[in-house]
């Protein structure tokens, strides 16, 4: 299995016109290029997702959304692609904003906080594949790695909430810590189910299993439950409504972000949208057959021979995966613009008394199911 890293390294080593380079220097170059790629992806993702979110919310709320800042001008007297440049304009505005640090804030931690959060989201992309071999590093513990690294982000939130020296921020940080730690358990438990069935923690193995058998969401009734628990816990993990308690704007002003502005605030923003993508990618890869074509899956079910499988291949795979991710992100937005927010104790109740028992029972039953039916 080749990864982006391997192919990039191979490419560098193949450049015969360059003087011989030590592997260390090549590795630094490769790492730099990949980091730049991930950062570009995250920024582009935020740009597109924010625009998408604004338009989606606008259509759900009977209004128009951004309509003015466009780059495509007029067509037939109407604004064409109006508002498409809005998020770019906002990003530029954000970077130009004054960066304030409260006088009584704990300066080093106040500065460090957003970077930890951002770093965690950033690092998670190392292990997430987008196609056969299209991954920076295909760990043999990929699933576990993502779970571990996303749990680090909460430290960034707590630190920025505490360092702001603002009571609202502190409340946001408190809620966030409680929430993310709680929802990690059902999240991990539902992943465990898939790992048990597929017998591997490696993403490529899980996808391979789904190609050989069937997508996990239709594998058994228990994986359906696991999928639901995973998706909802994922929404909670990404701090989205109805679980956006850490930043609940009607209660805590802006929670842990209250004192942030400009560039640091945009780091929070990038991380939020990145974590949405991480959760959606995880869900799509683990439960929805990743880059496997649904057309091929259906054809196989009816016994159509291999030669008839169209719409597969690397580029189609990217299309299917991104389509699934887009659908999941849309679902999250749909949640956000439909539901009211939960109360902290109801949130905890949902995690510990509903999801966790279900997830645990799920593991037990799926074990039985596999033993008896497989």
């Amino acid at each position: 299995m080749t990864s982006f890293t391997d192919s990039l390294t191979g490419w560098f080593n193949g450049l015969t016109w360059l003087p011989d380079m030590s592997p260390a220097i090549v590795a630094v170059f490769v790492a730099g290029i990949l980091a730049l790629a991930v950062f570009t992806f995250m920024s582009l993702n935020a740009l597109v997702a924010v625009y998408f979110e604004r338009k989606v919310s606008a259509f759900m709320q009977d209004r128009l959304g951004p309509m003015e800042v466009g780059i495509f001008g007029f067509r037939g007297g109407k604004k064409f692609w109006g508002g498409i440049g809005q998020t770019l304009a906002d990003a530029i505005k954000l970077l130009g904003k004054e960066d304030t640090i409260p006088a009584d804030a704990d300066r080093p931690l106040f500065i460090l906080g957003p970077f930890i959060l951002f770093g965690a989201a950033f690092t998670a992309f190392i292990g997430l594949p987008i196609g056969w071999g299209m991954v920076i590093s295909d760990f043999n513990i990929g699933v576990f790695f993502i779970t571990a690294i996303t749990s680090v982000g909460v430290i960034g939130i707590i630190l920025s909430g505490w360092a702001s020296n603002n009571k609202w921020s502190l409340y946001g940080a408190m809620r966030s810590a409680a929430q993310i730690i709680s929802y990690e358990l059902p999240l991990g438990m539902s992943l465990l189910l898939v790992v048990m069935v597929a017998g591997s923690l490696q993403f490529s193995d899980i996808v391979q299993w789904q190609e050989d058998n069937r997508w996990f969401i239709i594998h058994s009734p228990f994986t359906v439950v696991a999928f639901m628990i995973f998706l909802v816990s994922g929404v909670a993990e990404a701090n989205r409504t109805p679980f956006d308690l850490p930043e609940a704007e009607s209660e805590l002003v802006a929670g842990y972000m209250t004192e942030y502005s400009g560039f640091r605030w945009s780091l929070f923003f990038l991380s939020e949208y990145a974590s949405m993508v991480i959760i959606s990618l995880m869900t799509a890869i683990v439960f929805l057959g990743a880059w496997l074509s649904p057309v091929a899956g259906i054809l196989r079910m009816f016994g159509v021979p291999e030669g008839w499988y169209y719409l597969s291949g690397p580029l189609w795979g990217l299309f299917w995966l991104m389509g699934k991710v887009a659908f999941l992100i849309f679902t999250m937005m749909w949640f956000r613009w439909t539901f009211p927010r939960l109360r902290p104790d109801q949130l905890m109740y949902t995690a510990w008394k509903v999801f966790l028992p279900f997830a645990l029972a799920n593991i037990f039953f799926v074990g039985l199911w596999e033993l008896l039916l497989a």
Partner: protein, 164 residues
Amino acid sequence: MAEFGFTGIAALVIASSFWVVTARNLVHAAVALMGTLFGVAGLYVYLYADFLAATQVIIYVGGILVLIIFGVMLTQRISSAVLLQTHMPNRPLAGVVVFFLFMGLTSLLFRTPWHEGEQVMPESTVTIIGTSLLTKYLLHFEVASVLLLVALLGAAYLSRREDG
């Protein structure tokens, strides 16, 4: 490359643990601890114990450290307390002890005949760990889980509201 990375990680561990010990603010100490824990996870990666490394991150950084910061943060008196002892009458004595300890460890390091084996990269440690936990070390595993259960019950009892 490998030596380069190892040096970096070792430096991170030493520097951050030095910060943990000398930090005047307890929250800063806890944050510095994060560097140490991450560094140790990195060391595990060098030992091809990738599963253990991820476990180190998820349990120590994602769990225990969060709880430490959480606890320190919410106890107002602790975070403003001055931690560094300035009045230390036993300093010379401690210096002597530390010096001899350091000398002893260093000499041990150089005099040990280190066995350099073949570099074998195990296929996946996960399977080995999983199998041995459920066969050879099953009793230990179960005892640990009972201990955790007791801890869980105790925590639930403590945080229970009075009206039940």
